[in-house]
Symmetry: D2
Subunit: 335 residues, 4 copies
């Protein structure tokens, strides 16, 4: 049994994480934190947890968290996370960080995309990127794991096998992603006010989304050369799910079957990647830790289509997958 | 051509009103007001109006409004509306008020339900309730019309004919209403944050909704005796539409056909009430000024089912209907 | 480990059942049946099951089913279920029946509401109604359990405690229910075609819904006298969830607190009923086996508001709860 | 006043067309056809038309249609349309055809994509493509106009100005489109059954959608050379709206401002194209005949984003725009 604390427990990734951990036979949630005043019961914030988790939200210092828990899931926003993670690590605790703070290797790139200096820059480049399908070996020994972004998970899982196999031109990659609204978080915004986004579809942050450098970096590692993707995210009027369609130029004449087989072979032993022949729908993966992937070749262009539940494989499910690897539990436990 | 000002033009009823007035051959919108800083162009607030209305939002005094417009539609919230309407009337302007400020006849009831003293209490009881189907004669001469609430429109139109005919017991009325989310307005709230209310159904303000006394009052006039309804509103995950189901005890044995015929006769000449045999859906009335009504008798209980588009017949369409009557245009113009 | 067969495995209750059973440590699904030609793999019909259950749909006789499985979940429609259940029972198998075939005690009532003679009428009245909260003692020894209807579950759980306590008048009950679209099943119909029902709200089968006699019967047992409810179901544009609002006359002056306390006491030891003070939303219970209930007293009328996930507590979750009781597993296993 | 017949009046484009024509001062709908038995009243099929259009659906021959109407809107499917249009034209009637039958110039391409021989092949190449923004001159004299497909409208309006200006490489075009469900029509299909497609996002007909050759053809005319686009449509869980994101390689270094200005200049005098700086949402255009377009340059790639209401500018609104041009009414009448 591992004692767990969850930092920043008022948002959607936290409540999803709690629900997964509640069915984990080796996890015990011992603290949930928030700066909310009055220490409300967690069920006051998330009524779906009524009768399921009897904890109050507390505003705890890193030392207090470290005193109670062996593993800390930080659901804090970027910047905030890097300001508490070092103290937790120094106290001997292990951390899965949901924020972008430890995903990028280069502090300059971080500063450029996040508009602020990194407060723990020395650690960058030494933290494994928590996508076990690509970096499984690095995760069990890690004290800190950077949980991947939701969009990057779909794009990287689809494209990395093709780049590693040299099938597609790394300079040609277009990524058109579509996400449900929970990806935008629980903070009130006009763009996610129901009558604004319901029955509407739009692009947002085109060319400027902060997941871009993360995709560049990991695909660059797969390609063995720098990659700069064109990334355009869109907002879908639904709660959960991301579907990503990518377009790239093949380096050699590649048949659809060869492309599909390359991806299928790459993930042959993976418990959470399903390479399928049909065009997958986000609903197929809803509530699961699966990433469904297929590919097509259209008029000589290589297309991949991949989808996940953004709150599970795109956040809390991946976090528990990393937790399982870090603590030696079977990787699929509770997932 | 009538020159029109719209007060409080940032919300959903205002943008719906603008769209209706843009196709009105006798209406010219000359001012749209808001306390928003910087006088943004109306299309910055409502992108759907791009290229359709070239006005900036201005923070105008009642005198400035009165200097420009002959007719003022106030989309201000309750309290705010009553604080500017008197000056507009004194300046000789005519007003359609969307707020609840002039709907109730009794200042005490207003204070009890709205939690504040009425600042223009002397006028209460002298303002017609803008439901032409019941009070058409009072509207043409009126300087000020109180535009009805959205829930009351559905409940009153369904029940008034039955109460006037003495078919149902005024003491027995239960009103179960269901509204789309636009009815909750454009102010950001957690309850109308997309991932909270999407794919969810809930009741709210049960027994405490401020439309209750308005329904009591108008149904009481129809019944000729005091009426106290049990009113439970619910929130439906959709943009627009209200459907209201009412349950009451018949005073005499009433067949379904007699109940339906009573309603059908009552609205025989009405352009915007459709008494139908089938069970209507809110989508049938979406984007229109219609109220669709039917009735059933189930195990001796009388049921009515009525629906509207809450932003049209429940707000801006009704307002234009009142405007047409006040200014002598054909009642259905632009509707 | 119990070997399980699922009859009629192409619908929504079946796929939900499969997902629950896949995480049940004591259940092994050994057969899934359908009359679909060509024995398609279950994942062809339900892509979400890809990689999770490796079975083909087979058109099996009751004897073949009995030869493989110890427990049979019948997701067949009414009529079809009663035509195979007797053979399964005769072969010594135990059955949880999702259809309405064994819920009613009186064959005449069945015939009246379902429009056909019951083919196994002699068994009616001897089959426990699978609502453990009311009939837990009858379930462990049962060979056959009638899994409750989704609407009845919400209405009965809310009202039975008040009727048993003599707090409300059994002759006064109005039930206004609202259901997500999955309740209408997977058979294609214009009313559940996306552009027809999306962004729309309507009533259906008012006064004629087949869940009416089931509610009458079980509430009558709670009240100790015949009950005839007024029942009006409505269709909500969402996938899952039922919320039921009931209205009844108190027999004695009952405070809101007394009503709530009566319900709270009644379910004090129940794992799947959450009596709450706030107004619950269907989303709170989504994906869970909980029924959330609250009550209000409005102008002397007693209101209850209760909600479930129609596919879980309203169908497949309740079925597994019954299965657990029948086979001696902890009641909450996999739920 | 022009007498109008609508062929195939049971679908979504037909009911949208009827609603637009009902507010057209110069249009009188005199016949609505369908092969439905029993000549049901149009309001039985489309309850939203109750009290608005008093016609029955009739199964009329082309001669009967020609005897009543001066202008015929054919909402028949492809194949069916080409089998009745010649007779209507021979009888001297003018036709706006919603189907794809007269959009392509080359019968071989038609046969290849639609899987059947064209029954009126000789007429292909002589029928104007009803996108007034590109082919306005051809429409007033035309006896027959081919109303454009919904996806092509978004892609062509966004890309044609850039191809004409030689700004982008015609060989590099990727079109990623997203459509609401009404685009799939009213025929019942599992993919558009509410619980299947609600809360889900998927691609469909990737590389195989029949709108592909239509886009190729019209963009080829704009480019002055053959164009073969990569086209991937997706299904969005909403009723209406299409948003199309395109990606192409610039031929010269093109700044975002230059790209935007090129599009803005091209449509400077167009009543129904709004070139905007912000990222448009489908909801901005909902219920209108507008196409909103913007552009971005991301890492050297040119992106366009354009959106319409698929039932209005993507079908019935465009049809009325064409009708207005054909019959000499102001182009924006009723739109």
């Amino acid at each position: 049994m591992t004692r767990i604390a969850i930092l920043g427990a008022t948002g959607y990734t936290a409540v999803e994480l709690i629900k997964i951990l509640l069915r984990h036979p080796n996890a015990e949630i011992v603290a949930v934190t928030s700066r909310q005043e009055g220490q409300p019961h967690i069920a006051m914030i998330h009524p779906s947890l009524t009768g399921r988790l009897d904890l109050r939200l507390e505003d705890l210092s890193p030392a207090e968290v470290a005193a109670r828990a062996e593993c800390v899931f930080s659901c804090l926003p970027h910047g905030a996370s890097a300001s508490v993670v070092p103290a937790l690590l120094d106290a001997g605790r292990r951390v899965v960080d949901f924020s972008a703070d430890y995903r990028l290797n280069d502090p300059t790139v971080y500063e450029q995309w996040y508009g602020q200096k990194h407060v723990d820059a020395a650690r960058l480049g030494k933290v494994p990127y928590g996508l076990p399908e690509l970096f499984r070996d690095q995760i069990p020994p890690a004290r800190l794991v950077a949980n991947p972004g939701c969009f990057p998970t779909t794009a990287i899982l689809a494209l990395a096998p093709l780049l590693k196999a040299g099938l597609i031109d790394p300079k040609s990659i277009v990524i058109d992603s579509k996400s449900g609204v929970s990806g935008a978080g629980r903070t009130l915004k006009l763009t996610t006010h129901y009558p604004e986004c319901n029955e509407s579809f739009s692009a947002y942050n085109v060319g400027r989304h902060r997941h871009t450098p993360e995709i560049d970096q990991v695909l660059g590692m797969a390609a063995g050369c720098p990659v700069e993707v064109v990334f355009a995210p869109h907002l879908v009027p639904m709660d959960r799910g991301i579907l990503t369609t990518t377009y790239s130029q093949p380096l050699t004449a590649a048949s659809e079957e060869k492309v599909l087989q390359t991806i299928r072979d790459f993930y042959a032993d993976e418990p959470f990647v399903r390479v399928v022949d049909h065009l997958p729908a986000t609903k197929d993966a809803m509530g699961t830790n699966f990433c469904d992937i297929t590919a097509r070749v259209v008029r000589g262009r290589v297309l991949t289509i991949s989808c996940i539940d953004n709150l599970v494989k795109g956040a809390s499910g991946a976090a528990v997958q990393n937790f399982n690897l870090m603590f030696g539990y079977p990787e699929t436990t509770a997932l």
